[in-house]
Symmetry: C2
Subunit: 306 residues, 2 copies
């Protein structure tokens, strides 16, 4: 469907390259946007016709020059990700000064220094972050122009949110914020733009169904109920780690006053297949629960009372 | 092999019941030691002949009375897990006062109140913890004896460590500590004992092999190298979360001075099958690295300099 709508695709692994091609995407509409790729995967993507690659280090650039010669490359720069529910830390991207040198070096290595990418952090709720990020990237365009390199593309990353527990600005407001940032810093000389709005496209499309296996108390002194589910940190709730993403919770129980509870997911019980899972009907929100999962490594369980 | 050696088995899920039975274990040598079980899984284990079940709450006890009538039951009590590299928090077990009432109630429900279980935390390095725990459990034996219930079994849990980065006391010292704790509190009237030494039995049996995909720096100002592996938090390194378990790391590179580094595991790259994975020879320990994995949700990456 996305192919039919004219989408391009950003991939992070060899498997995703295959997935896009198998579903009708053209190789020249694929961007290999992961900055950490195996040499063998670069060669594989190149053999399939992919000609656009991300990097954020000299070592990765050299791998690209060897296995994807002459391709368009773009450098990912670091962002602070303030305001994001799931910040991406310093794991991807390099400082802007290094990015400039690396894009110059890309030309020396026979590559086509094509653009810049960044990511403002997943589930970003501060619209102003795009203006900050685009401003930083625009400085790189200017610096490289002075070095005789004319960048042509800006990958604005993801960050557009899905609706979890709180309301989020409409997608139009995000689009306005991004376009305002671009015209603010580039005027009418807009570069080509790539965005990666995965979460905002599909985040609301799914429902995770779970069975309550047990509700118990640990002692007579405590007020907190422990609610044990049959879904796990490794079986659907990965994004709740460190309380990064808080899902909406609905149960089939109505009419009773919500009590303080600590939601727990057993680690010894593997996720069951859909076929075996009993249906827990979801009708009413269970208010008073502000936390939906924790993990037994935590020295102090993050019980939150409603 | 374990069946041949006369082992009994503690299971935590329906799948493990099947695994034990398929490998020749007898149902009356199986203890269902997970305190949070689905009603359907209790009924399944009962239908297969399992007659020993753990619980730590009234609700679970009632489930057992319904689906595993007349079975032996043991109550798990809470421990603080001081000294453990992987403490188990309050997720499993109840306070001792509640345990007493629940075991009395078990008899009322027609069950056989059989014993007590606890767990001092995984990778426990403080041998004294067993004396503290057994003392607490012995108090429960005494209290129930006064109520006319003669408990017969003590499940001492796991906690016996595997060797990771530091030397650990020999298994004989653990055995001595456990037996000393038992005779200290029970004299010659020792109850039957169950232990669950899984980690210490098999923890040293495996080697996790990984390819270094990229080594990079983020800026000119920082000293730290970022080392990206092709194994992930969800592909073998789950126990390193929150730095709970620190693995020994060996590389094929010798003779070079170790530099400060931050080890990272990409989340977008799924673990590859053994067939495809290039062999990274492990010969020499890479000293100076005290941390082997982190996860991009961390606002501050836990880089540790050697």
């Amino acid at each position: 469907m996305l192919v039919g709508l004219g989408s391009s695709f950003d991939v992070a692994s060899r498997g995703e390259v295959d997935l896009c091609l198998e579903n009708g995407a053209r190789a020249d509409n694929i961007s290999f946007g992961n900055t950490i790729k195996k040499q063998s995967d670069i060669a594989y993507a190149y053999s399939k016709g992919v000609r656009l690659y991300a990097f954020d280090s000299e070592a990765e650039l050299e791998k690209l020059a060897e296995s994807a010669p002459g391709s368009r490359v773009f450098c990912r720069i670091l962002m602070t990700c303030d305001g994001a529910e799931w910040p991406l830390s310093r794991k991807f991207g390099c400082e802007i000064e290094m990015a400039k040198d690396l894009l110059v070096k890309a030309r020396e290595l026979g590559m086509d220094p094509y653009g810049v990418s960044f990511h403002v952090g997943s589930q970003q709720t501060d619209l102003n972050q795009w203006d900050i990020a685009v401003g930083k990237a625009a400085m790189l365009f200017t610096a490289l122009n002075e070095a005789g390199i004319d960048l042509k593309m800006m990958n604005l990353g993801g960050g557009f949110p899905a609706k979890y527990r709180t309301d989020i600005p409409a997608v139009e407001r995000y689009a306005d914020a991004v376009m305002h940032a671009m015209t603010n810093h580039f005027g009418n000389a807009l570069p080509a733009m790539i965005i990666e709005p995965g979460r905002s496209l599909v985040g609301d499309a799914g429902v995770l169904e779970a069975e309550v296996v047990l509700i118990s108390k640990k002692s007579y002194d405590e007020d907190v109920r422990w609610v044990y589910l049959d879904i796990g940190k490794f079986g659907g709730l990965a994004e709740t780690m460190d309380e990064a993403i808080k899902y909406r919770i609905q149960t089939s129980v109505t009419g009773r006053k919500p009590a303080p509870s600590c939601w727990a997911v057993p680690t010894c019980i593997p996720p069951k297949s859909g076929r075996e899972r009993p249906v827990t009907k979801c009708r009413e929100p269970l208010r008073g629960v502000t936390k939906c999962a924790f993990w037994p490594t935590a020295p102090t369980p993050p019980c939150i009372r409603g």
